[in-house]
Symmetry: C2
Subunit: 154 residues, 2 copies
DNA sequence: CTCCGTTCGTTAGCATGCTAACAACGTATT
DNA sequence: AATACGTTGTTAGCATGCTAACGAACGGAG
C-alpha cells in the first residue's frame, strides 16, 4: 500500500520549511544568531514587550520550547526577563540595547532570503501562496481546538 | 526597523510545518510512531531498499539526522540495517515484517490529516499550492548549490 | 475569606534538526 | 603500487520541537 509523498502538502511544507530555515541560518550565522532567535527579536521589535506565553502563542510553539529560546538569548545578552507588576506569574521579555544594532542586519538577511525564495514568482503568486498557507494553517488550528471525537452534546 | 512576518513565506511555512507535524503526530501516537518515522517507512514502501545516504537525500535531511531516525526505528524493530555486498561502506535499510501491518494504519492517518489540512481547497488550489512550494524549494536548493559569492571565474 | 479551577513559567525526558570532525572504504591519478 | 580525493556512516555538541508533571500566582464561587 503506497502513499504518494510527492502530492502531499505535509511533505512539501516540511522540506521547504527545513530548506528555508537552513538558508536563513547560513545568512544569520555570522551575526551569531539563529532563525528562531531572529524571529523572537522580530516580534519584540513589532510589539515592544511580550510575556513568554503571548510570545509562544505568536511563534506557534509550546511554553517549554520558548523558554529554551529565551534562556539562550538571555545568556547571549539579546533579551532580558523583567518581572510584571500586574501579574507576578508573568515574565516580560524585552530586547536589550545590545540587540538593537544587530536587528537591522537580521532584517536585511531575512529580506534577502525571502527574495531568493520567491524568485520567479510574481506578486499575485506570492500572495496566493501566503493565502493558501494561511488556509491550511487555519484548518489545522481548528482541528486541534475542536477534535471531532470530543464533540459530545448530552 | 520593523519586519513584516505576516507577509513572509518563511514564517508561514514554518508554522504550517509545525502545525502539520503536530496534527499527524497526534494521529500516529497511538501506533507508537512519529511523523518523520512514518515518512521513512513510506520511502521504504515506495523504493524497497535504500542506503542511509539516499534516504537522507529523499527526506532532505543531513546524515546525522537520518542516523538518529534509523537508530530509534531499528531499536523499535520497524527497520533493519543490512550490509551491502557491492560497497562495504553502505548500510542498506529495509522495513521489517513487524512494520508491515502498521503501515496501512499510518497511510490512513496521513490521508486523514492531508484531507483535513486541505479542507476548503479545490483540486486546482491544492495543485497550485504544491506547485508554489516546489518552486520555493527549488529556489532554495539552487541557492545552496551555487552560492553567489563563490562564482569566481578566473 | 477559603476553596478550586486556570494560567504562567519551569523541569525532565525524549525526538529531530544542524555543523564539524573522524575512520573506513571506494576510486582516480600518477 | 602509492597517493590523493570523494563518499558513507558515525560521533560529539548544540538548537529546537514536543508532552507530562509541577509549584506559584490569579480569579471566581460559595
Amino acid at each position: 500500500m503506497k502513499y504518494d509523498f510527492e502530492s502531499s502538502v505535509g511533505y512539501w511544507v516540511t522540506i521547504v520549511s527545513l530548506a528555508y530555515r537552513k538558508a536563513l541560518n547560513e545568512e544569520l550565522a555570522p551575526h551569531g544568531i539563529t532563525f528562531r532567535q531572529s524571529q523572537v527579536l522580530g516580534w519584540l521589535v513589532h510589539d515592544g514587550v511580550l510575556s513568554q506565553s503571548s510570545l509562544a502563542a505568536k511563534m506557534e510553539v509550546e511554553a517549554p520550547t520558548l523558554k529554551g529560546l529565551v534562556d539562550r538569548m538571555e545568556a547571549a545578552g539579546w533579551v532580558k526577563r523583567c518581572s510584571c507588576m500586574d501579574d507576578r506569574r508573568k515574565k516580560l521579555i524585552r530586547m536589550t540595547s545590545a540587540a538593537e544594532p544587530v536587528w537591522q542586519k537580521i532584517a536585511d538577511c531575512a529580506r534577502k532570503v525571502r527574495r531568493e525564495a520567491t524568485a520567479g514568482l510574481n506578486r499575485d503568486e506570492t500572495n496566493q501562496l501566503l493565502h493558501l498557507l494561511r488556509t491550511v494553517h487555519n484548518n489545522l488550528i481548528l482541528r486541534s481546538e475542536v477534535p471531532a471525537d470530543e464533540i459530545q452534546i448530552g
